[in-house]
Symmetry: C2
Subunit: 600 residues, 2 copies
């Protein structure tokens, strides 16, 4: 039997019923498209994921990339995946026509990326990086850079990367010290070390284009002195063709999971001959890079949701087939055993997985729609969408990532001992998904970003907007008998969130350390409330569709979704209480203690 | 630098200050011992763990057991570990003198087992199984069986196992169908398959002694028709020496972690010539086996706490040394970076790890002390201890196991990208510890055992006893300014637990499925409350010791422990609220839904 890894029905339900993706075709930018195009694109993505991505998932895990004298050998399927990604227009799908793209909505492309990531997370990462890197060049690069590099990247022949992290700096980007010295001939000489660079070197692409942060001598210290450079592995030689650009891969990491993609250590300019090209303005590099970082943060959230989806369907299929035990109400051992899905505790675990998968994906598509509106919408809605997207990015990155660990772990649990063994996919998915709270900004950093910056930007305008949107959803279902109890629960949770937020600012005064000590818990609370909002939106669509007397298969899907909504409101939302209690204390327990208290 | 994996100071604090292990030497059974012996034993265990267990932890993970034509090759260190385990008296330490043991208290042996498991979980499992299997034989076996098998097992030459699970039955033991046909010559002919048998075959022992469940033809169906057999891999030949007993290892599992120990598939009696010896009474096999199962359940909880301990000290040492970023209050990028332990969010994660490690270990030692009193105590206290041990076993198994996944995951998070790589120990520990909610009865099964059986045995006598003990701890610290706020929090949580328990029974009426639908959440709630009790007990000892004006190192340890207690009460205990809210609903959401609701 073909292994299932996502639900096409659910994806379409979220796209069309909940988030009204059709409405995007009314925007001038997307006027050439209609739902039929979208469906064709989704079908093609599903075929590709099934035929090309999924079949090599286990193989790519068991045959990790190998480092050998400066190069990295990856699974041969990667080259084919990149080739088809270019040829089929997947890498460039949401680029405008004039950059060779198909001008598809971000929302639809996000749905296709979700399918690929669910089929084979590692394999889908390569092209995702290239897309975001190419977009960064088109956004801020000079016309010549765009023309020289972007077409090759979008064709799948050249790999794009994001080269931020350095050994001495880690997450502390103000400590980046790679140097970029202007040469006068239109380029900079780059010198420095980068670590943890995904796809920073491999043999499935003909060239690698690094988008790297570096410091021009004389620039201010800290983040205000960082510039963005395009640093190719191979550069154009004076006499034509390509020549080495003094970029060296010095090693790769052996990782818990996510083994199909190499994470590399890079050295720029060991021989003093590494050329980089300034992208955008001097000393504005970090601000520019945030475009790619934010795009990648959503991609990480999506990757986590996708792995959770693959885990959910693997657990579900096991639970439907594996006979074991008997109902508690009739334990007669002479009767045959029942499939374990008959046990309420197994159903609870499945509902948890489904609640995480469908709640996370709903939020990610919500963010994608905001990205569409922010990019191509009109007037006030354009600005609002940008603000909401900015506010929700840390949540869309973190909720799926943190909950993905738990939901994949529950999925593994459903299989019992088999879940722990490599004959079933759960153990790999459990290893793969553990990367997500780490890369593209750890959960701790996302929490500080949300509570320390995002909720108070423009006097809290984005936060206010979020509350308005969620309360509007509450208001719309008032009086609907089925939905009203859940609307009330969401309303209460929104009050709690608002109250906790203002309480924290009041108690902390100006003391940042007190304010942010429990920012991770704040992010968790905000995440649960946000997903509750997304579940209420799904509930509205469920009731509407059920009222239309759907066929049996749709009815099962919708009734199941309704129970998943109930699960979320009855089992997940109550977690807000404990979190709120702790956050209201804001007693600085972790602030007012020394390293010596960990000694003995 | 030698890698640290546990705290000797903490272990002694829990043993002597909190649980008053000295008092055990007043029991006649332990009258030969004193604290000096205990300390010598602990020191010797620490040396052995450091010199023998820890050095091969990574190697055993990277060189998994290999299956080859019926035998399983394991790491050569295992034979040496078993040899020293026998020679040093570790395998038999808590056996009575007349079985060749040292008659050491279970409490002290538990502490030594914790040290071994923290040093190398897989390596420590072999001997632990042998100890429990040998005890099962001495408890229920005929004198001849004891004399024939137990000395060889306690010497480390022969391995013991626990052979319950079968392919068609899994956790459903009533479906065990291995057959045992009486031969008339003092043995039974055994025929059947067993799966997931830890250390069921390997080349580090000269023989393997399986304690296996099987069914004698004509016995009642279900669990009341199961008997316990000793089934050796090699049996005594008529002419002297050993000969094969028609026991075949048919394969091993490739696992996520816990890779140093083989988990095997076994086939008994393929050639009709496998002899087994009845242990205890016919058809009472499962009841007998529960002795070993319960011992192993505590061992699993301890293994989880031990892995969490190794993870905690690895994270702590990284956090103390790794410079990155600056305090939020002074982010001047021209200043040097600070070690990450200076960041409150990192301290929060470390406190979480420490709270789990020290809370779990405290409960496990509490249970070990109950085991001592149940085995060797006097009069009423003997009976009470047995009841409390029985009640708390599912919690002592599950809390460390479930929280171990989370705390090891947080430990990995502290290392950022490095946590995900195999140059640091966190990724292995994260893989290793994932087994614990699965083996020796899944978390779901423990929940049903606790809520469905343990809390109502003897009209809830054990539960009542537990509440009395915890409330006595609350009562004792009333009026102590530092402890009183925490005593109050525990008191409230105990009320919640009591209220939820009776509420569930009331609402469910006789409907087992409604009662037990959320038994896993009930177990989680009960676990948090139990650990809060153990933290309050630790708090009492902390205040007492601090009042005695300790030296600087002890003071740091005690102040750190106090903050960990605060962490537990401020961050962990509030989780009870959300759990209680859900449990009080008892709406049967997961009961009243069909498999079709997972279709689409």
């Amino acid at each position: 039997m073909q292994e299932r890894f996502f639900s096409s029905k659910n994806l379409r339900f979220l796209l069309y019923d909940v988030h009204d993706a059709d409405s995007l075709t009314r925007l001038p930018h997307y006027r050439d498209h209609d739902r039929e195009t979208f469906d064709l694109v989704l079908d093609a993505a599903a075929r590709l994921a099934k035929d090309l991505f999924l079949p090599c998932r286990v193989e790519m895990d068991r045959n990790q990339p190998e480092y050998e004298r400066g190069t990295v050998r990856v699974h041969p399927a990667v080259r084919e995946i990149l080739r088809q990604g270019g040829e089929g227009g997947w890498i460039s799908a949401d680029f405008p026509y004039d950059h060779g793209g198909q001008q598809l909505p971000v929302t639809v492309c996000t749905a296709t990326r979700f399918i690929f990531l669910a089929g084979n997370y590692s394999a889908a990462v390569y092209a995702g990086l290239t897309t975001a890197a190419a977009r960064l060049i088109t956004s801020f690069g000079a016309q010549e850079l765009i023309e020289t590099y972007v077409p090759k990247m979008l064709s799948g022949a050249w790999q794009g990367t994001m080269a931020l992290t350095e050994p001495q700096a880690g997450s502390s980007l103000s400590d980046v010290k790679t140097r970029a010295v202007e040469d006068g001939a239109g380029f900079y000489r780059i010198q420095g070390q980068k670590i943890f660079i995904s796809a920073g070197e491999h043999d499935a692409a003909d060239n690698i284009i690094h988008l790297a942060l570096a410091r021009i001598p004389g620039s201010p210290v800290g983040v205000k002195g960082i510039s963005l450079f395009l640093v190719p592995k191979l550069r154009f030689a004076a006499g034509g063709g390509l020549e080495p650009n003094d970029v060296h891969c010095t090693g790769i990491y052996h990782k818990l999971g996510y083994r199909g993609a190499p994470i590399t250590q890079l050295s720029f300019g060991e021989e003093g001959d590494c050329r980089g090209y300034l992208v955008g303005e001097r000393n504005r590099g970090l601000a520019h890079m945030f475009q790619m970082m934010n795009e990648e943060r959503l991609e990480v959230g999506m990757g986590a949701a996708a792995l959770s989806s693959a885990a959910y369907y693997a657990s579900l299929s096991y639970a439907l087939e594996r006979p074991q035990g008997r109902p508690l109400a009739s334990k007669d051992p002479s009767q045959p055993q029942v499939p374990i899905i008959q046990h309420p505790d197994v159903r609870r675990m499945l509902l948890f997985q489904r609640a995480v998968v469908e709640g996370s994906l709903c939020l990610i598509l919500q963010c994608a729609k905001y990205a569409d509106l922010a990019r191509s919408g009109q007037d006030e809605e354009k600005e609002r969408a940008a603000e909401l997207l900015d506010l929700l990015t840390p949540i869309a990155k973190t909720y799926p990532s943190e909950m993905g660990i738990l939901s994949t772990s529950q999925g593994l649990q459903i299989l019992g001992g088999y879940g722990y063994c490599d004959e079933f996919p759960l153990e790999q998915l459990f290893r793969d998904t553990r990367i997500h709270p780490i890369h593209e900004g750890t959960t701790g950093i996302q929490g500080i970003d949300l509570l320390g910056r995002k909720v108070r930007i423009n006097q809290g305008k984005a936060f206010e907007l979020f509350l308005q949107r969620a309360r509007a959803a509450v208001g719309e279902v008032r009086g609907d008998r089925a939905l009203d109890p859940y609307a009330r629960r969401l309303e209460q949770a929104l009050e709690t969130l608002e109250d906790v937020t203002s309480h924290l600012y009041r108690v902390a005064g100006g003391a940042q350390e007190i304010l942010l000590a429990d920012a991770t818990l704040y992010l968790e609370l905000f995440g649960i409330v946000t997903i509750a909002w997304q579940w209420l939106l799904q509930g509205v669509s469920v009731r509407r569709r059920l009222a239309g007397n759907p066929g049996e298969s749709d009815r099962n899907f919708l009734e199941g979704k309704w129970r998943t909504l109930q699960y979320f409101f009855h089992y997940e939302l109550p977690k807000v209480q404990g979190l709120a209690q702790r956050l209201r204390e804001a007693d600085g327990l972790t602030v007012h203690m020394g390293a010596e208290h960990f000694e003995d």
